[in-house]
Symmetry: C2
Subunit: 186 residues, 2 copies
């Protein structure tokens, strides 16, 4: 056997959590890979809200999902998710850090990341998942990682399960996953 | 969906790693649950070596696997695995801490635990798994946990993948899993 890597394991959890017809959020559209994956999962009766602050990311994502009519692209901060999404969501996904092949000085930051995660947890259906893939090898990455870990480890255990899935003997700070399942509304 | 708890996830990895006919090790026979599970997985052509230092554990395990002829019970320390097992193994499992329903003052300890893990890693086949379920809520548990985490996080990444699977927002130090896959012989 081979232990599942972080990104395939994240996709597996999203597949298990998302149902056709769900509304879901891609909090970091980036090059659009997760947006496309989610658009396929929710199907034509569902909806994907995909956020990115970078025009290049929105453009790349628009191109990748051009055959889908169930994606709403929002060129803006994921800290304003609650201004665009009011329906319950089945899942949300975040890939923290910088845009691959983009400007590495433009990074997600703790303040807006925590705001976005909080808003997604509020919108989340019971047994839905918020999946956060954390990259911390870049400058500023460890501060964001620490802030996210502090926040998620304090989530009340009666309402949420917070799973960390991480390979711990690797150099160069490879990404790891934090997956949050909502167990009950309050 | 519901995130898999630590013990079912551990069993899933063992199921994926172990093939019929394999030799495997239960490093902490305890009440024999894992020994039984492994005996079923390896089948009549395989073999389970189950270790425990406590006579009560050996007795309970013997009773639980009484219908199986593929289990060798060793009433002794798992620090002496290499005196009893010389064949390659497909998997090994450890449940650290104390014997449930037994004497809680008798606990696994860092020195013998690390010796046992090292010996298992040496015997392990490529793509085999050593699964270590770590309990640290009892007195002495955090020292053992820290020693194990220090050891496994230093394993060379060209030879091993070390996965941590842990729910991180729970009180009372619930158990978590460290799973080590051997990727190549050296």
């Amino acid at each position: 056997m081979t232990l599942m890597r972080v990104l395939p394991f994240t996709k597996l959890l999203l597949e298990q959590a998302v149902e056709a017809g769900d509304h879901v959020i891609d909090g970091t559209a980036g090059n659009g890979h997760d947006t496309l994956f989610l658009a396929e999962l929710v199907g034509e009766d569902g909806k994907v809200y995909a956020f990115d602050i970078q025009a290049d990311a929105i453009k790349a994502t628009r191109e990748r999902v051009k055959d889908f009519h169930n994606v709403e692209l929002i060129h803006g901060s994921h800290a304003e998710i609650d201004q665009h999404v009011t329906s319950p969501i089945g899942a949300a996904v975040f890939n923290l850090g910088y845009l691959p092949k983009g400007d590495h000085s433009i990074i997600t930051k703790a303040g807006s990341t925590l705001a976005a995660i909080s808003q997604c947890l509020h919108l989340l259906k019971v047994h839905g998942i918020v999946a956060i893939v954390i990259y911390s090898g870049h400058e500023g990455g460890s501060e964001e990682r620490d802030a996210v870990m502090e926040f998620v480890s304090q989530l009340p255990q009666v309402q949420f399960d917070v799973l960390q899935y991480q390979f711990i003997n690797q150099q160069h700070s490879p990404p790891f996953l934090v997956a949050i399942e909502k167990k009950r509304i309050k």
